[in-house]
Symmetry: none
Subunit: 227 residues, 2 copies
DNA sequence: GGACCTATGTTTAGAAG
DNA sequence: GCTTCTAAACATAGGTC
């Protein structure tokens, strides 16, 4: 599959696709009704609430036939007002989302055609500043990891020394097998599990992939060695 | 067209085609509803009278919506189901919005504390690439503006030459006041209104400010001179 | 919005199980 | 009715006008 079946973020592209695919479905529906002598109706509401429908005969007729098949019963009156409220809420959220998507795409450096020079200049400064902060944060993180590792290393050396000291004080036989195991473990820790802390995934976003096309999954790993 | 769109005479072939194409249409309908966030219902009665239907939400709801669109007659039944749907929609939108906001903030280089080294590294690459694209777009824009201005300048010089020529041919009295005005205007245009085109604001986003805290409104202006 | 284009990727007729 | 296979037909993303 080349394109992913998920909401198209970019509004103009979404509109074009809607129009093309809608016509495609209507065409297929018409073909099916003729090829197989069946009765077909397609009802589509665009995101903006506009109605598009197609039917081999009459949409109303097909709906009537549908209703009689189902066994038309009606009920429930949960206050039309409430529904109205939810819908308004919905519209507002959609607008906000559209706006955020647009800004996010611009921050990613795509769909910049409609920006004028001033706006491009501002955007550049913004992205530049962002890059600076990202790099700084990254370096701080690296430094703190390095320091943590140094501290750990120092502790290990200290522990090692103390153990060696005990070995001298009790040359043989007097230390139990537990003490020997302890020493071996400490030596291993110092050399292997250095990046263990950085593999903890914190998922503040529900989907933390910030990739441009939502599918570039190149893994960049940073290896740290002890100084 | 290889196959003619006309009733398939051979019953077994017709049945197979019916099944295949029916599923094809349902799939396309589902894709359309997701890609373009629209509400879709497809109702099909086979030749034998069997009902097949597909809907992005609920065929009944779509039919209810269809009926209210066609003419508010019949009965407005908001159907508790519809309300439920709107509420779910609402929750989904809120989540999407939260997610987009989070990603946007990260793209802006804030709230990076919870990212691990790997994620920071990826983010850096992303922002870096974005910066490259922004700069490229800006430079392309500048180049096209400069070229437009050069062209304009050349045209003005040419016009000026022609007018000077006319001045020589009709030394005095013979040119009317209109011609003099024309000449003066041309001279002014050449020196002053150079950046007029870059001040056109195109607002693709409802709010095109991409500032970090939504309040830093430093204006950066780029002045272009004729070469 | 629509009409056209071209390079993909997708669907499907026809056959067989 | 379903699946699977193939080549061929078709739809459509992403352009342009």
């Amino acid at each position: 599959m080349k394109i992913k079946i998920k909401k198209i973020d970019y509004l103009p592209a979404r509109q074009v696709t809607f129009s093309k695919r809608r016509r495609g479905i209507f065409k297929k529906a018409g073909e099916l009704s003729i090829l197989c002598e069946s009765e077909v109706a397609v009802i589509i509401f665009s995101q903006t609430g506009k109605l598009f429908d197609f039917s081999s005969s009459s949409t109303k007729d097909v709906i009537a036939r549908y209703n009689s098949h189902i066994g038309g019963e009606k009920s429930d009156q949960p206050t039309i007002h409430q529904l109205q409220l939810e819908k308004e809420n919905n519209i507002r959220l959609r607008k906000e989302l559209e706006d955020k998507s647009c800004k996010l795409r611009q921050m990613k450096g795509v769909d910049l055609e409609d920006l004028d020079l001033d706006e491009l200049q501002k955007l550049e400064k913004l992205v530049e500043a962002s890059l600076g902060r990202v790099i700084q944060t990254k370096e701080e993180k690296i430094m703190s990891e390095v320091m943590a590792l140094e501290k750990k290393g120092a502790e290990l050396i200290e522990a090692n020394n103390q153990l060696s000291h005990r070995m001298v004080m009790y040359p043989r036989g007097d230390i139990g097998p537990e003490a020997i195991l302890e020493l071996e473990n400490l030596n291993n820790i110092g050399e292997e599990s250095v990046t263990s802390e950085s593999t903890t995934n914190v998922t503040t976003c529900s989907n933390s992939s910030l990739s441009l096309e939502d599918d570039c999954s190149d893994i960049l790993s940073l290896k740290l060695g002890l100084p």
